[in-house]
Each structure stands twice: as structure tokens, then as C-alpha cells.
């Protein structure tokens, strides 16, 4: 009655169909890799042509070749400045997300607290980052602390909102099942809510990975001497456009790498298919 591997093997066209599928799959995989590369290369070529044909002066915009040369020549300086920015972004990311997860947990279990403080969180979130930065510099001085605080604040909101949604959007019948089994709030939290929230949490973490770097860089714009943000401001004042572009590339390359790490961790942790995709 049931289909077994043996009965499938009797199908004469099976091998051929599988081989064809495998070829199509491989072609698609190469397509997915090559097309983005082709897109990026064509944009670089267009950029180079524009700078060359319109004779754009170097203090307005550099040619891609000049940026590449600077990337190589100034590599040690760029890396030395990436380190503080990376530390600020990573620490801010960790801090902002951990606090958001804890507060989301409290909100889900104590509705009164959520009703009282969620508006406060929304209000703080409406202040633009560039406006938060000076306030935090005044509060926390000129070291890494205000930058970490900005990165943390910028991560905090999306994670809080998504985490509350993830913890609350539990299948109502699974919730009833837990009640039938006389599960405690603690068991419901660890066995049901927390696992249920993971896909939501990761979609927030992916946003936070890039915004944390933005937060650290914006923080460095205000009275800082090291870091990617400081380097951006310095290059701009010096009309060193090649250095400016090189710095921007290093900063966004770090963001992309950070984002990639989060995706890799997500693949390891969330192995199931969510019932209702996020």
C-alpha cells in the first residue's frame, strides 16, 4: 500500500529525470552567484566611465581605481579605525538586544507594565539618531560609551517589537494544549513562547546587525578622533574623496559580514519551518 524506495526504483525514467533536475539545479546555483557579480562589475565600470568621460576632479568623486589603490595603501589605517567601530557596534548590538529580549519577556507576562511603558519606548524611538547622539555624548562623555549606547538604542526597538510579537503569536490551540497539560507559566515560556519567537527574533537581529554599525558610525561623527565615523568626517574635511569612499566601503563590508554571521546562526538555530512565515 505504501510507496517504498523499491517501487520508485522500478520507474525507468527516474534516473534520467533526476539527472536533469540536478543539471537544472546546478545551472540555477551558478546563475545566482554570477548575476550579482555581473551587476556589481557593470556598476563599477559605469562609475569609472562617468568619472573619466566627465573629467570629475578627484576632490569631488574618485575613480574606482583610485579607491582601490587607497584601500590597499591605507589598509593599516582603515583597519585600525575599524576596530573601535566594530567593538562599539558589537557591544551595542549585544546590549540592546539582550535588554530588548528581557523587556519583551516582562511585557508579555505583565500587561500593566507593557501598557505603562510601551508608549515611553515609542517616544524614545521617535527621536532621530542624529539627535540622540549629542544627548548621549553629554551624558556619557567622549569615549566608546556613548557610541555603544547609540548602537544599543538603535537595535533595541525593532527587537523589542518583534520579540513581543513572537512571544505572543503562539498558536492558540498549542496554548490550550499547555493548559490541558497543566503547564506552568515558566514551562509555557521555555517550551512554547521562546521557541516560537526565534524566527521573529532573527528577523529583528538581521535589521539590528546593520543598524548597530550605523549607530556606532553616527556616534563617532560627534567629537571622536578614531573609528570609521571619525575617518569619514576627516576625509571629507580634507577633500580626500578616495579615502572617504574607501572608509565607506570598509564600514559597509563589516556590516555585510555581520549580517552574514546572523544568517548563518539563524540557519543553525531555526531548523524548522514556521507555521506562519514571518
Amino acid at each position: 500500500m505504501s510507496i517504498t524506495a523499491d517501487t520508485l526504483m522500478d520507474d525507468p525514467g527516474l534516473k534520467e529525470a533526476e539527472a536533469a533536475h540536478e543539471r537544472a539545479r546546478r545551472r540555477l546555483a551558478w546563475r545566482r552567484r554570477l548575476l550579482p557579480v555581473a551587476g556589481i562589475l557593470s556598476m563599477l565600470l559605469l562609475w569609472w566611465c562617468l568619472v573619466y568621460i566627465l573629467e570629475v576632479p578627484p576632490f569631488v568623486a574618485p575613480s574606482p581605481v583610485a579607491v582601490a589603490t587607497t584601500l590597499v595603501a591605507k589598509w593599516p589605517i582603515l583597519m585600525a579605525n575599524l576596530v573601535p567601530t566594530a567593538i562599539e557596534a558589537l557591544v551595542g548590538f549585544a546590549l540592546g538586544n539582550i535588554v530588548a529580549i528581557i523587556i519583551a519577556t516582562v511585557f508579555v507576562h505583565r500587561k500593566t507594565v507593557e501598557e505603562a511603558f510601551f508608549p515611553v519606548v515609542v517616544l524614545i524611538n521617535t527621536i532621530p539618531v542624529v539627535a540622540k547622539a549629542p544627548i548621549l555624548v553629554l551624558l556619557l562623555g567622549n569615549g566608546m560609551e556613548p557610541k555603544i549606547a547609540i548602537a544599543a538604542l538603535i537595535c533595541f526597538f525593532p527587537t523589542l517589537v518583534n520579540m513581543v510579537r513572537g512571544l505572543e503569536s503562539v498558536n492558540p490551540q498549542a496554548m490550550e494544549l499547555m493548559r490541558v497539560l497543566s503547564a506552568s507559566e515558566r514551562e509555557i515560556f521555555f517550551k512554547l513562547r521562546l521557541r516560537n519567537s526565534l524566527p521573529y527574533l532573527f528577523s529583528a537581529l538581521k535589521i539590528a546587525a546593520s543598524t548597530a554599525v550605523i549607530g556606532a558610525i553616527v556616534g563617532e561623527w560627534i567629537g571622536s578622533t578614531t573609528g570609521i565615523g571619525a575617518l569619514i568626517i576627516q576625509s571629507m574635511y580634507n577633500f580626500d574623496s578616495a579615502m572617504l569612499y574607501a572608509t565607506v566601503i570598509v564600514g559597509s563590508a563589516f556590516s555585510v559580514a555581520f549580517f552574514g554571521v546572523i544568517i548563518a546562526v539563524e540557519r543553525l538555530v531555526v531548523r524548522w519551518q514556521p507555521a506562519n512565515p514571518v
Partner: protein, 256 residues
């Protein structure tokens, strides 16, 4: 015989901003231990609500409910009952086996009673041997519902409450699961309360059928299904079956 479940004058009202809904009004019923009662009625007749009252998921506004002589809350705490939902309600991050084991991990860690079938044996009972390590998204709708039946049977509950468990399945799968549920009922001796809106399903499965009428939900008729204990699907073509079905259709019609 002693009653497994007894409801007397159960009324349930839901008060909302817009209106008050009387889901059940003065509903009474009883199932003897080891019995199989189908609860049949149109949507909105409160049959699911009645099941939830028995499971202590909904508090009745009035009336008495006893489950093996206990209050529903006590029966629930003592793990007297298993519940099968319309949606299998499996945890998607757990394998079939881990889903069946869930009842051992919550509500205070507990051991399986001596002699009770293990999670593996229960999966075998519902025909899922070899699928223990599959995740819910790798199983078909019918298989997921089998897992949820195995989970409800863990620990050998004396009462199984089933809320339209096969309502979302295709007819072929549904027929097969109906047959298997009869077999499981006979093998385990569990009392079953089964909610459905299919007349055929109600008659094929139940030893008795309680018909509820809607708006508000109330008793309409109680019919004893006078068919042999050993049933297969061909029984649905017999005159005896057809007579019971048309009788039930009449009482469903009168309820409106």
C-alpha cells in the same frame, strides 16, 4: 454503569462589548466509562465549547460538570483527559516523537505510569512507525493529526476529548482515520467525546450521538447507535446505518 462525564444544566455566556452570546443553554449529557459519544451539530451550536467546559478550558456560567466524579479542574490536574484539537497543534521545532513526549515534560515532570505504552509504542499504534524523527512540516495533514492523537493518548488518559480532529482532512484520509480511531478506542478502552459536524462521521464513530441545536446551543436529541462494535466503512451502506443517519438529519432540521 458509572458516568465518565456528566454535565447538568450547563450554560455558557460570552459577554463582549458588542453583544452577549449564549453559547450553551441548559445543556445536559452523560457518557458512561468506556463509551464513545459523538457531539453533532451545526457550526455555532457550542459543541466545541461543551468540550472545553469538560476540559476546564472554559468555565461554565452555570451548571455542574463532573469528570469521573471530579471537578474538571481536578480531572485536568490529575491528567485524566487528553485533548485532540482541530489543528494538530504540534510544536514545529519538535520531531514527531518529541511532540508525543511533551506531556511528560510539562505540568511538573512526570514518569509514565507502569505498563502504559511508551511514546514509540503510541506512534506505532497510530500507524507512524518509522516517522519518529520527522518534523511536522515533513508530515502530511493526516499524519500530523495521528501524532496529536498519540500525544493525547500518552499516559493512558481515561477520557479523550476530540474537537473536529479530522475536519480539515480530505475525505479519503478522514475515512481511514475514522476506522483507525474505532480500533484505537477498542484497544485502549478510553472514553471518547468526539465533536463533528459530519452526520456520517458521528454515526460511524459513536456508540451514541448527542445532537445540539444552535442559537443558543442546547440539547436537541440523543440517539443510540445500534450497530455492531466491530465496524468497517462498508457499514455505511447498510440500511441500519442509513436509518440512523436520516433520523439524525430530521433532528438536525428540527433544531432550526
Amino acid at each position: 454503569m458509572s458516568a465518565a462525564v456528566e454535565c447538568r444544566g450547563v450554560t455558557v455566556r460570552f459577554v463582549t462589548d458588542r453583544r452577549t452570546v449564549t453559547a450553551l443553554r441548559d445543556v445536559s449529557m452523560a457518557v458512561e466509562a468506556g463509551g464513545f459519544l459523538s457531539l453533532l451539530g451545526p457550526s455555532g451550536c457550542g459543541k466545541s465549547t461543551l468540550l472545553r467546559v469538560v476540559a476546564d478550558l472554559v468555565k461554565p456560567s452555570a451548571g455542574d460538570v463532573s469528570v469521573f466524579g471530579m471537578a474538571p479542574a481536578a480531572a485536568r490536574a490529575a491528567r485524566t483527559l487528553g485533548f485532540v484539537f482541530q489543528d494538530a497543534a504540534l510544536l514545529p521545532w519538535r520531531t514527531a516523537l518529541q511532540n508525543v513526549e511533551l506531556p511528560l515534560e510539562v505540568g511538573g515532570r512526570r514518569e509514565l505510569p507502569k505498563g502504559a505504552p511508551t511514546p514509540r509504542e503510541l506512534l506505532k499504534l497510530v500507524g507512524l512507525e518509522g516517522w519518529e524523527n520527522s518534523f511536522p512540516h515533513e508530515l502530511s495533514g493526516g499524519m500530523r493529526q495521528r501524532v496529536s492523537i498519540a500525544r493525547a493518548l500518552l499516559g493512558g488518559p481515561r477520557l479523550l476529548l476530540m474537537d473536529e480532529p479530522f475536519g480539515a482532512l480530505d475525505e479519503i484520509t478522514r475515512d481511514r482515520l475514522n476506522e483507525e480511531l474505532r480500533r484505537v478506542w477498542q484497544e485502549t478502552g478510553t472514553t471518547i467525546l468526539f465533536v463533528t459536524h459530519s452526520v456520517y462521521e458521528a454515526v460511524f464513530l459513536g456508540e451514541q450521538v448527542l445532537v445540539l441545536a444552535a442559537n443558543p446551543g442546547r440539547n436537541a436529541a440523543l440517539v443510540t447507535v445500534d450497530l455492531p462494535r466491530d465496524r468497517d466503512l462498508s457499514i455505511r451502506e447498510t440500511p441500519a446505518f442509513t436509518t440512523i443517519v436520516s433520523g439524525l438529519r430530521d433532528s438536525l432540521g428540527r433544531g432550526h
